[in-house]
Every structure is written in C-alpha cells, then in structure tokens.
Symmetry: C2
Subunit: 141 residues, 2 copies
DNA sequence: TTCATTTTGCAATTATGTCGCATCTATGTT
DNA sequence: AACATAGATGCGACATAATTGCAAAATGAA
C-alpha cells in the first residue's frame, strides 16, 4: 500500500525526467497527502528539517518546471505550490487565504466568471483569484 | 493649487490619526498622481532616495493600517499598494500583471462575478483577482 | 517658544530565495 | 552485482525584501 504509493510517485517523477531521489519522493508525497497548496516553510516543517532549505527550493523549482506542481498564490511573503491536476491554466479555481494563520485552501465549489477586455496588445495567460478572510479557527479568537 | 492638494493630503493624514510629515505627504501625493498601484521600489525611485528605505516601509505600513491605502497584488516579488477609493472591499476590480516587466495595472472595464460558498465558518473579507500575461511592450520581444 | 510624542535615518537583523562547489546517489551499462 | 557518470544534495555564501532598535530630528499642542 505504501509501496504502491511510492511506486506511483516514483513513476510520476521518472515520467517527467526527474530522478526519484528520497527527497523528491518525500516532498511529492506531502503534496498528495496535503491536498492543498503548500509553502516551502510548511514543507520544511513537515519534513522535520530532514532536507536542506536549498534542496527544498530546488525540488520545488524542478517540479514546477516539469509541470508536476505549479506555483499558486503568494500571500505577500510566501509562494505556495500545489498539484496541477485540480488547478490548471486559465481554469484555475480560486483560493482562500486566512489572514490569521496564513493557511491556504482551494475553493472547489466556487466559480468565477468575468467579462471585459484587457487593453490593446495585452495578452492574458493566467488568472489568479484569491479570497482573503478568516478560517473557522481564527474567527473564534 | 499645489497648496490645495497639499492641504487635502494633510487633512487626509490627520483625519486618520497620522502626523503630516514631509515624507508622508510626498508618498501620499505620489499615489494620487500615479493612479495605479505602486511598489516600494517605485516609490523610492520616484522620490529619488530622499527618504530612507525603512521609512518608506513604515509609511506604507502606517497608511495600510489606517486604511489610507491597502496592499494590492504581488507579482511574485513585490507587494504593491494603492488608494482604496477605486478598489475597496469585495468589489475590488481586477489587476493585470506583466510577467515580462512586472508592471501592474488596474483593469477598470473588467468585471468579475462569482458564485459558490466558502466552507462552514469561513469569513470572506476581500477578493483579489489577478490576470497575468504580457503587456504590449513585452509582447513584442 | 517650549516640550512631549512621533517619526526618521542609520545600522543591524530577519526572512525568502539563489548560487557555487565538493560530495554523494540514482540509474543505465557492463 | 559492481561500475561509471550525469545529476542531486548539503553547506556556506550571497542577493534582495522587509523589519527592528535606538539616537537624533521633526511635529503639533500648550
């Protein structure tokens, strides 16, 4: 079971031209388990500092370049990364970010429509929609 | 005329409980003149380094806390700030950010509608919509 | 003008992210 | 299974954005 998962992750890495190193497997597992966008700092904590800071950044950059993950929102300080299967290109779903604890979540049941034109000569490549507010925990305090 | 403007700005500062210092007046003038979101770096350049870096940050934070400006989009590197009159609360207009030069613009004729629900207990306070792409200049190259 | 309170400038510090280089590891080949 | 090597990691140094402590200066109320 854990082996199946490992195999799936290993395959995913190799299919994308990346060696399946311990660090990469562990980071990618985190993304599958988390099911929500993660920042570098959170990954470091979840791995209990088993990996070097620079390595985590390099892993995230490699994943992003390969398309395994892509960078989602930035709350002013942190880049967050997530698996693209749920969130790709122009149909990117919105995200929620808590101003209390900084947690980020995907808003699956939230649909965004927009109409209008960009100026002449402008090209749109991606949209990012972020709802800021308070999560249930931070709302209490 | 310039005095009227200065007076208006001075009043705005005092009304919000902030002393009308030279630096604050100059920064706030910039925002009124620019009519678009500004990053700290741009402000420094426009003021030709007359103010210390730390002071600019403190001024921006003070303004943001007082509600005179608020932080808008981040293009991955820079926080940008803008006057709230054109962009307030849940009716915030979208922004465009060029991945080439990092320039940020307001999209006035661009309307965003969304429907759906946040999870239980979540409170939405603001929305941020960002279209990323290329501006006419960067498109050429 | 005087004076208490804030704000500023400067330097040092923290935080995020990148880079170079020596060492180590994953993987295809023998 | 052992080997060779392209590529990944750890470490330290560096780059940039932003914050903080503290002494000196400026604001604005009396």
């Amino acid at each position: 079971m854990s082996e199946n998962r490992d195999e799936r992750i290993t395959d995913l890495l190799r299919k994308n031209g990346l060696k399946a190193t311990k660090g990469r497997v562990e980071v990618l597992e985190l993304f599958f388990e988390a099911g929500r966008p993660l920042a570098q700092m959170q990954i470091m904590e979840m791995l209990r500092l088993k990996l070097d800071r620079a390595s985590v950044y390099r892993i995230l950059n490699a994943f992003a370049e390969a398309g395994i993950i892509h960078t989602a929102y930035v709350d002013g300080r942190h880049r967050v990364y997530e698996l693209p299967d749920k969130c790709s290109g122009r149909n990117c779903h919105p995200h929620f970010s808590c101003r209390g604890c900084g947690m980020t979540a995907c808003l699956e049941d939230f649909h965004v429509h927009y109409k209008g034109t960009l100026g002449k000569g402008f090209v749109a490549e991606r949209q990012k929609v972020l709802i800021e507010g308070l999560c249930p925990d931070c709302k209490k305090t």
